[in-house]
């Protein structure tokens, strides 16, 4: 009887931890967006109070290229150079990726806020699986998720592998300055404060 009781307690504890952690994950994402909105509101009320804003984001790599793409969705661009002069967030994503999904609410917020000031987001779709390769499905997924920015099709993951050769996971996020140099890079979700500060600095101060 003691044995059975212990078994039941362990199973319930594990199931409870799994459910609780999922609920916590959703709350974390919502909180991150609230923090971003609050910071933007504070910035508008009291501009240039953040010391970090004045520190230039370091140059991480010179002008990476997007080569051998299979085309673009939601854009007439011919390459990454088509956006020269603009600050660019380049995100390698794939529509079946759970962690990528978690970033879209934030990306939509930052796009809405900074697009009028010269920000462009480029979603480079680098599929993990074969069923993620069809452009019609990618477009449908973009519509469903509310992704309105240009999407480059990196079907064979040539650029995904070239930009960060040792990497295996999604998403991968970069910020390129107006000259196309890398000023921010990140594997995985979040780090939104540093991302926002980089974009804000480049928009306000130039490259």
């Amino acid at each position: 009887m003691k044995r059975t009781g212990l078994g039941i307690v362990i199973i319930f504890a594990v199931v409870g931890a799994l459910v609780f952690s999922r609920l916590l994950a959703n709350k974390d994402s919502e909180e991150a967006i609230e923090v971003f909105k609050d910071n933007i509101a504070t910035d508008k009320a009291e501009p240039t109070t953040n010391v970090d804003d004045k520190e230039a984001p370091p140059l991480r790599a010179p002008k990476p290229e997007l080569v051998n793409l299979d085309g673009w969705l939601q854009s007439d661009a011919t390459g990454i150079n088509s956006f020269d002069g603009q600050v660019r967030i380049v995100q390698f994503w794939t529509f079946g990726c759970f962690n990528c999904n978690n970033t879209y609410p934030f990306l939509k917020e930052i796009y809405q806020t900074y697009e009028p000031e010269g920000l462009e987001i480029i979603g480079v779709h680098a599929p993990e699986f074969d069923w993620e390769k069809n452009p019609i499905d990618i477009q449908n997924a973009a519509n469903e998720k509310g992704i309105t920015w240009p999407i480059a099709l990196d079907t064979n993951k040539e650029n995904f592998k070239a930009w960060r050769p040792e990497n295996r996971g999604w998403p991968l996020t970069y910020v390129l300055d107006q000259n196309g140099n890398v000023r921010y890079e990140r594997k995985g979700e979040k780090d939104y404060e540093r991302l926002t500060n980089t974009v804000k600095y480049l928009i306000e101060n130039g490259p």
Binding site: L6, G7, E128, R168, K190
Partner: protein, 196 residues
């Protein structure tokens, strides 16, 4: 470290963790009365090898090498006449399956695991413990699987334990063949597609 553990738990039910959890469950089933040493060996083997891979001290294994490791794990776990060396065989089987599993693993990269990947080169041995925390979180369902056996009456358990071991080691062997052939990718792909 705790953040990574909780992020691991969050990832446990996602398809990206299937390649860790499916062999992990088989190792628990094949472990008979040494389920916990087998499970611990699996997690430790997976943690050490993934840390070596992430910190670029070891390159990723190809499908053939990973498949062969699964085959070794299946052969070692296969029931024998005497259970004298059960602890040793469970540990060896767990470690080899753990190494093979992480070689195929494309991890979900949340906030804290992203941070770890960005800093693991500089962290060295500290990174190993962080990697262990994350994998402990991911493999938490294995504890529940092992606990199921506490609910089974000892008499019934004695009758099912050997067939279960045969089933688990045979399934590991089938998995080994699928990995060598590259067919596991289709399996994981379908699993991901169904879960969306």
């Amino acid at each position: 470290m705790l953040n990574l553990f909780f992020e691991g738990i969050q990832s446990a039910l996602l398809p990206c963790s299937a390649v860790i959890l499916i062999p992990g469950v088989l190792i628990v089933l094949a472990g008979r009365d040494k389920k916990y040493p087998a499970m611990a060996a699996f997690i430790i083997g997976a943690s050490i090898f993934s840390w070596l891979e992430l910190s670029e001290q070891q390159s990723y294994l190809n499908n053939v090498s990973a498949g062969l490791l699964f085959a070794v794990s299946a052969i070692v776990a296969f029931p024998r006449k005497s259970d004298k060396d059960l602890r040793v065989t469970s540990v060896v089987s767990g470690i080899t399956a753990g190494i093979a599993s992480v070689s195929l693993w494309v991890p979900c990269t949340g906030e804290h695991y992203g941070d770890l990947q960005e800093t693991i080169d500089e962290n060295n041995i500290g990174g190993l413990f962080h990697q262990l925390s994350y994998l402990l979180g991911i493999t938490i369902p294995l504890i529940a699987v092992a606990a199921i056996f506490l609910l089974i009456k000892p008499k019934i358990y004695k009758r099912i334990v050997k067939p279960l071991t045969y089933f688990a080691s045979a399934t590991l062997m089938i998995f080994a063949i699928l990995v060598v052939a590259g067919a596991h990718e289709t399996m994981i792909s379908n699993l991901t597609k169904w879960s969306i």
